[in-house]
């Protein structure tokens, strides 16, 4: 890995962290645990297409760890790690099938995988399967949020490519 790539990844991690922290300030819309926009996913989706999987993983996990430290919510760390890992694996597999012009779908799939991971941890923590009743609600919110972040990532990707061509 050369210095330029390292710098870019650091910058992306920083960007994802800022988005993550800003998003924490947005109040919860519905009283369902785990429903959120997941704007930091924009950066992850962008990375999945533009960097190798190991590099994306580094970016993702440093964002999750630092995000949990900054927000002071270490309880949420396990949910983030489980959701993030599942989301990452799903997206890395799917990106071989789905090309860049359908980035929004990758993001939706990632969001739904993220929700499944979250619920799995919740089941383990509570030692009760009753929380699975929340999964469909999370899936719907995941689809909407995933579509939004996916479209954002698609736009960012397109613009960055154009910018790179000019410079």
């Amino acid at each position: 890995m050369d210095t330029k790539k390292l710098t870019c990844l650091g910058l992306l991690t920083c960007l994802a962290l800022i988005i993550f922290i800003v998003e924490l300030r947005i109040p919860d819309i519905v009283p369902i645990p785990g429903v959120k926009l997941g704007l930091a996913n924009i950066v992850t989706v962008y990375c999945v297409y533009n960097y190798r999987s190991a590099e994306t993983a580094m970016m993702l996990y440093s964002r999750i760890l630092l995000g949990a430290l900054f927000s002071g919510n270490l309880m949420a760390l396990w949910y983030s790690i489980a959701g993030g890992t599942l989301c990452f694996i799903g997206m890395e597999i799917l990106k071989n099938i789905i090309r860049e012009d359908n980035m929004w779908f990758l993001s939706i799939a990632g969001a739904v995988f993220h929700n499944i991971g979250q619920i799995a941890v919740a089941v383990l923590v509570l030692k009760s399967t009753s929380v699975i009743a929340y999964l469909p609600f999370l899936m719907i919110s995941g689809c909407i949020a995933g579509l939004f972040t996916g479209l954002c990532a698609q736009m960012v990707s397109k613009r960055l490519k154009r910018a790179r061509k000019v410079s």
């Binding site: 919860d28 009283p31 369902i32 645990p33 919510n73 309880m75 099938i97 789905i98 090309r99 012009d101 359908n102 929004w104 779908f105 939706i108 739904v112 919740a122 923590v125 509570l126 030692k127 009760s128 399967t129 009753s130 929380v131 699975i132 009743a133 929340y134 999964l135 469909p136 609600f137 899936m139 719907i140 689809c143 579509l147």
Partner: protein, 119 residues
């Protein structure tokens, strides 16, 4: 078929499944026995129709949850947790349990298993 069409179809399928699942979870429950459990263990089994109004306090690692019973209904009155999602959930009405993740507390109707609500 174009990839885009397939993607849209899959997304819509997932959304529809989730919507149907949601509706079946949200169907009002006929059972009137509420179960309060913590960390996988059942603490209370309450027959809501015959119970008189009272509050129940449950502690977990020094943090307190206050559950209120009123007129045959049950809800989380207050909780010592950072997010207060359990309080915001309101009264227990359907297959959607009241969950306090930090304090590992679940309030649900009996037979509130997935099989009972999803099918």
């Amino acid at each position: 078929m174009k990839t885009r069409t397939v993607c849209i179809i899959i997304t819509l399928l997932v959304l529809c499944t989730a919507a149907v699942w949601c509706l079946s979870v949200m169907r009002p429950k006929s059972g009137k026995t509420a179960v309060i459990s913590q960390n996988g263990k059942v603490l209370y089994r309450i027959d809501l129709s015959s119970e008189k109004d009272r509050t129940i306090e449950v502690t977990y690692e020094g943090r307190k949850n206050t559950i209120e019973l009123q007129g045959g209904r049950i809800h989380m009155k207050c909780a010592d947790c950072p997010d207060h999602i359990c309080v915001d959930t309101g009264w227990l009405e359907d297959g959607k349990p009241i969950v306090c993740l930090p304090n590992r507390l679940v309030i649900e109707y009996e037979n509130g298993d997935i099989d009972g609500t999803a099918r």
